[in-house]
Amino acid sequence: MKDNIVTVQHLSFTYKDTKHPAVNDVSFNIPKGSWTTLVGHNGSGKSTIARLLDGILLPDENSETLIQIDGITLNEKTMWDIRDKVGIVFQNPDNQFVGATVEDDVAFGLENRQVPRLKMQTIVHDVINQVGMLKFQKSEPQYLSGGQKQRVAIAGILAIGPKLIILDESTSMLDPAGKDKILALIKKVQKENGLTIFSITHDINEASQADQILVLNQGTLLASGSPIEIFKDESLIKSAGLELPLFYKVKNKLIKRGISVPQEIDNEKKLVNYLCQLNLKM
């Protein structure tokens, strides 16, 4: 499809010396410019899929398997072209760092892409500033706090601005205000540059703001759809070990108490407005 940046068909992967495939015959698309979220149990295969999309892992042998990114089919020959288009922020930021200082680290991807020195310095300074780490630009990444490491890891990817950014639980250790800020920053960069975000997360509030949610369970794709489609399916939520965002819980509990709330209410603001109307009418 022309307007999908990622097309995956019949993708499987089995780790060496293991009996069951970690990813089992998975097919999905990611629309260009979307924020797509991948959720599912611990060990369901999310990070494995991220590594497969970037060519760090190669799929199990199968003639039907296809990974296509921005129109290019992933194989050994195209791997480097693909890596140019895809940037991953790994689950553990320690696995990400290569530079001796924060600014070297953020510059690394740009150096690889032969960005001219002056331009590089400007970009590096800007992104470090945007993630709020200017004070630490000369620090060694491994001696930062957990949340500071995550900020630097994100800065490294934003500096490059690849067409597809994969975030593997990249904001799991940020304080609430910091998380909102960083997510807003990523959204802004996404909009400005037409990037696509593929975010792996256990944060159900983040997932509820996505354009598309993919639900993985024991290596297979259980469901995909808009947040409202996913969250209305209670048995799916249960079997995938997910949780409902707060406003869904409140909405469902009110309905159980006999207070009518329309199904199509799909965010907190709408719920507040609706309850306000209801309250006034009474």
Partner: protein, 287 residues
Amino acid sequence: MSIKFKNVDYVYAPGTPFQTQGLSNISFEIKDGSFVAIAGHTGSGKSTLMQHFDGLLLPSKGSITIANQTITVDTPNKVLKEIRKKVGLVFQFPENQLFEETVLKDVMFGSLNFGFSEEKAKEQAIRWIEKVGLPEETMSKSPFELSGGQMRRVAIAGVMAYEPDILCLDEPAAGLDPEGQKQIFDIFKNYQKLGHTVILISHNMDDISKYADDMLVLEQGHMIKHASPKEVFSDADWVKKHYLDEPAPSKLARSLQKVGFHFSSMPLTVESLVEEISKELRAKGGN
């Protein structure tokens, strides 16, 4: 007995250009048997503080009384080992805690190190591996060939297995799926009910208000608040100013308040929020 910090300072890399004040003049006392949450913005000193509970870091200044011992800058290793038997710490990044060839060996390590018999250590390990929700077949795997959330569970099991009196948890829910988070917090809460002390670092205000009965808030190495979560969250402006957040139910309640709802007290849980909303709607005579 209680845990007491007295004028504790910690300085990273003293005398180098990278010298950083990790903690500044921290003093507090917490009761044994309580569930204490530590919160604060990124880099505020939470992990630094936590590593003082088991003597992984020694205070540059001041002293700590914990588990019938005193920790200062010159506490000898022998005493520290005694302390570590009673104070277990789950690190922020589980990878930094794992090193054995197999998950089973890794979870047994702490118990063996603190004098459990081989047999008892194995029994405890198997019990805790199951309790934290790890599939049985992971037992013989290398802890490095696991998913992020599975590694987290191994690290938690490894500390729970030797049943320390004081359990210190640095963002233990990060990387766990929602179901796993609930499961693991029930384990911690039960552990407290059995008479142990639980110290938790968390950015999740819902979890803090749900499980903790005492709370410390840090900012730039200083302790800026020591109070019950209820008290801390009752001041929304203060909470916001210090990069925290209200629990989600309180936030929703506040939005409703702005459009005319009345709450006798700010609900901290979903149940109390729903109760308050339906009370208000019913009071108006509807439905």
